[in-house]
């Protein structure tokens, strides 16, 4: 039965359901229980933003607080995954990948290939991504492209509670390592979510809005900005098709190409930096595979090529917004379909 819950609740529910279904699912991370060994109450935090709150009471020691030691526990999650567990390790902020990246990209990502297909690493690494939290340069990044560059890991970034639940359940059941990116500014966003378990397959983009004039491709938080832009465009009789990629590795090229072949125009919105981003990746793919369908140059709307600033005034400028997306869409409809170079090289 569906009811409105937030993305934070949806993630909690997915973990709860999978831990109930499968005793090999364990969840670990810094403060995911909270207060372990401290004099106050057990399960004090349930994650730094409370995402795992209440799970300890149900599942006990299968939720494990860890020392602040990402290399060790992310590595342990990966090692345990090769030994039959299905660990979900929370990296808290994706920015912390820097201290444990070897375990992700040289170990987890490589095992299946390097060991000739004889190893499976069903680990999920959950991490908060994205700006808008006034958390500055080391707690706000959208580092998805760093992971999509690595063969062997899957990369997921849901834009809403329904997708978050179904994609997280799929991530846990998937036999490959999955980087599950949770935009912290979407945690509170509610939508209809079935109470039952369900899995959304990877590589299936969601078309949130049909439209024949321009295709807007995005993922995560900026999907909502893209929808706002589409509504604004609709008031001007421009119908935008909005594609939410949902998973970035694998990525649903077919849906993108199908849409661009109908609309002939493409705007890619990415909260990551512009260089070697999801946006540039999609733009390049469409350029190579649907050039004939394009009626205008592909527009990329991304964060600027700067670290995430702290001051709210600056951070608000940093995140791609609806007017800039709508403007990019209008550029594709202008006679030349070109725009001033918007990216610092």
């Amino acid at each position: 039965m569906a009811r409105k819950i937030s993305m934070k609740q949806a993630i909690n529910e997915a973990l709860d359901l999978e831990m109930t279904r499968d005793p090999s699912v364990v969840v670990m991370g810094e403060d995911i229980v909270g207060g372990t060994g401290s004099p106050g109450e057990d399960d004090a935090w349930g994650g730094v933003l409370g995402v795992t709150k209440g799970l300890y009471a149900k599942h006990g020691d299968r939720l494990m607080d860890t020392p602040l030691s990402e290399s060790a526990y992310v590595g342990a999650a990966i090692g345990a995954a090769t030994c039959g567990l299905r660990p979900v390790a929370e990296l808290m902020f994706i920015d912390f990948m820097g201290v444990c990246f070897d375990q992700i990209f040289n170990q987890a990502a490589k095992f299946r290939y390097m060991f000739g297909g004889k190893a499976e690493t069903p680990v999920v690494i959950r991490a908060m991504v994205g700006a808008g939290f006034r958390a500055a340069a080391q707690h706000s990044q959208m580092l998805t492209p760093v992971f999509t560059h690595i063969p062997g890991v899957k990369v997921v970034c849901p834009s809403n509670a329904y997708d978050a639940k179904g994609l997280l359940i799929q991530s846990i059941r998937d036999n490959d390592p999955v980087i599950f990116c949770e935009h912290k500014n979407l945690y509170g966003l509610e939508c209809d979510v079935p109470a039952e378990s369900y899995a959304i397959p990877f590589g299936e983009a969601n078309v949130l809005r049909d439209g024949g004039d321009v295709t807007i491709v995005s993922y995560g938080l900026t999907v909502h900005r893209a929808m706002e832009a589409a509504e604004a465009l609709a008031r001007d009789r421009v119908e935008a098709e909005v594609v939410d990629l949902r998973t970035l590795s694998p990525i649903d090229w077919d849906t993108i190409i199908d849409s661009v072949e109908r609309t002939g125009r493409l705007v890619v919105v990415d909260e990551a930096h512009p260089r070697c981003s999801i946006a540039s990746d999609v733009a390049a793919f469409v350029g190579q595979n649907a050039f004939g369908a394009l009626k205008a140059g592909v527009q990329m709307v991304t964060a600027p090529h700067v670290p995430v600033p702290f001051s709210p005034v600056l951070e608000d400028l940093y995140i791609p917004n609806a007017p800039s997306i709508a403007e990019a869409a209008r550029r594709t409809l202008s006679p030349t379909g070109t725009s001033p170079r918007s990216i610092a090289a």
Binding site: S69, G75, A76, I78, C83, N106, K118, G152
Partner: protein
């Protein structure tokens, strides 16, 4: 295999197990000596890091393990593989880059793995195995199956953050994890005496609340006994521990290493005085438990086994172009 250290015979292992241990060590030695020759001939692509001289550590530890116990190895992993039961033919084929290799020719010397044997992989990243072994230990602990996870690191990799973080994690979670520092005195070419600030791995372990034991890693019985106690303790829920095996490396860091950083005559001296296989043989023969002829028969079989492995590896098919793109993700 026997866990019964209290047996009242002259050795803590049965006669059969003594022969098995000897066969493991001899097979490793033959494997490595043969690679040394064939690499020099240019038959083998890439890097190989040889384990010769260190056999007592692999054998003394692995004799206590079951297939369900997991080890995370190092770049110098051939000995660990053989001692853990990985098929020698598959290993050789892998080193030759053949499709019949343990990793279908996609891993090579530095990445031989066989999870069915509990071998989580040799590892090209120094220190990376320590967290993985913690994971194996965690899996065993969650399942409550009495298994252990063992991380091998060299003296060099003991300086990696992953290793030190893993000591802490294993202690905090009280994991059945065992950290074996195979101290051959050299981190590649750099002396451990210079590169390790606190010159004792036991002190490092103590700093994280783990007991540590140092043994002569060239003495099979020393390794066997200490490892047995440490593994038993871990299986019984006693938590992690560290074992330092002081040992010697007969060859260079990798093949092709001229070893000009070593003292003159050093290798000859250790081959003469600290050959773990010869010391083992002398002791068991002297005790009258096995005969020299029995050991010589094993020597011959090991030589033949390796010869056959090389012959079949060279004859084995190479991977095809289609293999380039497979085994990246699970196929649905």
């Amino acid at each position: 295999m026997t866990d019964d250290l209290a047996s009242q015979g002259p050795f803590p292992l049965s006669r059969d197990d003594l022969l098995k241990a000897y066969r493991i060590m001899r097979t490793i030695r033959e494997f490595e000596e043969r690679l040394h020759i064939d690499f020099a001939k240019g038959d083998i692509p890439g890097f190989v890091h040889l384990y010769a001289g260190e056999e007592a550590s692999a054998a003394g530890i692995m004799m206590h393990l079951k297939d369900s116990d997991r080890i995370a190895s190092t770049h110098r992993g051939h000995g660990h593989c053989i001692a853990k039961g990985v098929d020698v033919h598959e290993m050789m084929a892998e080193i030759y880059g053949r499709s019949t290799g343990a990793c279908r020719g996609k891993g090579g010397s530095m990445h031989i793995a066989d999870l069915s044997k509990g071998m989580m992989g040799a590892n090209g990243i120094l220190g990376a195995g320590a967290p993985l072994a913690c994971g194996a230990a965690l899996a065993a602990k969650v399942r409550g199956d009495g298994g252990v996870g063992i991380s091998f690191v060299g003296d060099g990799a003991s300086n990696q953050g992953t290793f030190l973080e893993s000591l802490n994690l294993a202690a905090v979670w009280n994991l059945p994890a065992i950290f074996v520092v195979e101290n051959n005195g050299y981190a590649e070419s750099t002396s451990r005496n210079w590169a390790v600030a606190v010159d004792s791995y036991i002190d490092r372990a103590s700093g994280f609340g783990l007991p540590g034991v140092t043994v002569d890693g060239t003495d099979f019985f020393a390794v066997y006994e200490a490892a047995g106690e440490i593994i038993r303790r871990a299986r019984e829920g006693g938590g992690p521990a560290l074992l330092e095996c002081n040992m010697v490396r007969f060859f260079g860091h990798f093949e092709g290493d001229a070893q000009t950083y070593r003292a003159k005559g050093e290798v000859e001296a250790i081959r003469a005085s600290r050959d773990c296989i010869r010391m083992f043989a002398e002791r068991v023969i002297e005790a009258g438990v096995v005969s020299r002829a029995e050991l010589e028969a094993i020597d011959k079989e090991a030589t033949e086994l390796i010869e056959d492995a090389v012959r079949s590896a060279k004859a084995a098919p190479l991977p095809g172009p289609a293999d380039l793109l497979t085994d990246v993700y699970v196929s649905y």
